[in-house]
Symmetry: D2
Subunit: 122 residues, 4 copies
Amino acid sequence: MDIKEIQKRLRDFAEERNWEQFHSPKNLTMALSAEAAELLELFQWLTEEQSRAVVDSERDMALVREEVADVFIYLARLADKLGIDIEKEVFKKMDLNEKKYPVGLSKGNATKYNRRQEKKGT
Amino acid sequence: MDIKEIQKRLRDFAEERNWEQFHSPKNLTMALSAEAAELLELFQWLTEEQSRAVVDSERDMALVREEVADVFIYLARLADKLGIDIEKEVFKKMDLNEKKYPVGLSKGNATKYNRRQEKKGT
Amino acid sequence: MDIKEIQKRLRDFAEERNWEQFHSPKNLTMALSAEAAELLELFQWLTEEQSRAVVDSERDMALVREEVADVFIYLARLADKLGIDIEKEVFKKMDLNEKKYPVGLSKGNATKYNRRQEKKGT
Amino acid sequence: MDIKEIQKRLRDFAEERNWEQFHSPKNLTMALSAEAAELLELFQWLTEEQSRAVVDSERDMALVREEVADVFIYLARLADKLGIDIEKEVFKKMDLNEKKYPVGLSKGNATKYNRRQEKKGT
């Protein structure tokens, strides 16, 4: 994936329309969350099994694909504005997760998996 | 960016821990939205100007970078599970947006920019 | 529920701390979304059945209750700032939904239920 | 606000349409987040000042009011399903916040206000 090219094209797109003024990091995180929620909305009344079967419906997949693109676009814009190298950060995070959740302790441990989220909430 | 490699490593990570059972598309959209909201939370009380100045704080940037990675990770996982080629979809969406918002009509048109969101809400 | 009293107390709380400056409607929608996502996060890896059984865990319920309060607090603040009478709007919306989804056509119609969301997404 | 009456009417509405099956706590947190994000979306490209001026536009306010109702409706449904007394939890949380952020230490302390969010993120 040529993320530099995507980011350049998104930047040119915003500049040509004089829309850079709207793309503060704050606003971009709002747009990103709103797009992520549109993806969420497509799945909210489906059972998990139905959510796996979405691949069989061209109609559903067209909607999902478009929302996935929208989420990516705002994430790429945000990273561009803040000078974040997404790929590098993803590798760092994957390294971290591999240390944090060693295979032996984590395997098939659903309870632990569920619980680890709660520690973060407040 | 080698997204195939990232997706393979995320898949292996989940399989080794027997966590694939948790990664239904439905659940992944929830995790994606939750991570996007953690990014949102970092910016919620900042002015737009302060949000642009986040780049000057190594402490803030460390938090932002990690959340950007988390959002990307769940998006990549979701795309992998549903067989979505993110790059292809992003180019399709950028083509679409260029037609939808021609430069002449959209330039510096803040009101129109704001309004175009409302049409989608219900 | 005495929502006027809750809103007055939240207003006094913000004023006494000179925090009204942070509570623009924009920022409050961000805080509301972030809190809603913390609730979402508590349920993201649970099956629907497990999510129903959350009532049996005092530990889980304590977390859920606190997030429910947080979501309500930011919604009440937003309504107060914008002069919205929540109760009135809820009754209006319930009237609307009863017309929009007549019992006869909607009964047990899962497909229709799922689909009605998609029309809204973009 | 007669929240018991609202919850009863929402419960009857779902039962009459055989929609209770869709209203697992998990799904309701998804719907709640999606609705909160629709509210967010209305404000994403506005400046904070513009967001305060939304009260002057009947057209904008109509959209905001409807989304506020939608958020409340799913929150009320969730609380009903899990037997949560929202008012009681809100008072508990307000008591807690008053202890956590004493007026003397918190007054006009924007930095502290911003920072307290970050501690929660991961």
